[in-house]
């Protein structure tokens, strides 16, 4: 688990209110709160992981431009931001697929190389295996498990981000975990 503490709802809502007033300092604060998780989610969700930084930038630019559209009564700030991220990742993957089909882009990286050289080979291999299994999951299961693991969102936050019920999210997570457990045990 990561060392940072998740931001409180009150803090996040105060930051969004400041953002709606056009305070650029609030944008920096929002990025500090949710930037790492959104970048992590994008890196795992995108076919080309190196585009995660671009997607993360776009998420926060959209938040800046449309801050006044955020309604605190309709859900958490995290859900609102991750919903933007989920949609952007879908668009990126769709456009990337077409670009690869017509040969504009090269094939996607076979595995994520973000851990860097200092991470031992075993961990990289485990990560690559897990990513490969996650890629085979149905889209909604993949989104739910990545929002949980990479974004560290609660069931309610995931439900808001995906526009579904908490019960449906729980079902998606149960199925995703079962597939991951079975496939990863099989490979070990």
């Amino acid at each position: 688990m990561t060392a940072h503490q998740p931001p409180t709802q009150a803090d996040a809502k105060a930051v969004m209110a400041a953002l709606a007033r056009g305070e650029r300092a609030a944008l920096a604060r929002l990025i500090a709160m949710y930037g790492p998780g959104i970048r992590r989610y994008a890196a795992q969700s995108l076919t080309v992981a190196s585009e995660a930084e671009d997607v993360a930038q776009e998420v926060f630019l959209r938040a800046w431009r449309h801050a006044e559209r955020y309604d605190p009564s309709k859900g958490a700030v995290s859900s609102w931001l991750y919903r933007i991220a989920v949609n952007l990742c879908i668009d990126h993957n769709r456009r990337g697929g077409f670009r690869r089909f017509v040969g504009i882009d090269s094939m996607p990286e076979p595995e994520d190389d973000t851990p860097g050289a200092e991470v031992e080979y075993g961990a990289r291999q485990r990560l690559a295996q897990t990513q490969a299994v996650i890629r085979t999951l149905p889209t909604r299961q993949k989104q739910a498990i990545l929002l949980k693991a990479a974004g560290e969102l609660s069931g309610a936050e995931i439900a808001m981000a995906l526009g579904t019920s908490e019960g449906a999210v729980e079902q998606l997570l149960v199925r995703a975990r079962a597939t991951l457990r079975a496939r990863l045990e099989l490979e070990e």
């Binding site: 688990m1 990025i31 970048r39 630019l61 973000t114 949980k148 991951l180």
Partner: protein, 106 residues
């Protein structure tokens, strides 16, 4: 809640934690670059009228040339179209040609 449910929940939580740890990298927490990139783009998105006027005052020649060129094209087109409307098209096109040659055209 039964013991089985509790065990399953604990096991799921453990699984999610392991998955989070697998995806987490220390460098993820560094958002300085991301912050800088986003904030610099918000500056260009939100340029005020005064900032644009500032550009005109600090670089007057290119803006004046662009404005002058557009005015000349507008005058020429207006002359041609109005002359054509009264049936004097032949002379008008000659005049338009002369004007373009003055401007470096033809």
């Amino acid at each position: 809640m039964s013991d089985h449910d509790n065990t399953t929940k604990a096991s799921d939580a453990e699984f999610d934690r392991a998955l989070s740890a697998l995806f987490a990298h220390p460098e993820d927490e560094d958002v300085a670059e991301l912050s800088r990139a986003v904030l610099s783009q918000t500056v260009t998105v939100n340029r005020t009228r005064h900032e644009v006027q500032g550009d005109v005052l600090s670089e007057p020649l290119p803006w004046a040339l662009g404005f002058g060129g557009l005015m000349a094209i507008g005058v020429a087109l207006g002359y041609v179209l109005s002359s054509s409307a009264i049936g004097d098209g032949f002379l008008a096109w000659f005049a338009f040609g002369d004007l373009l040659s003055v401007m470096g055209g033809f």
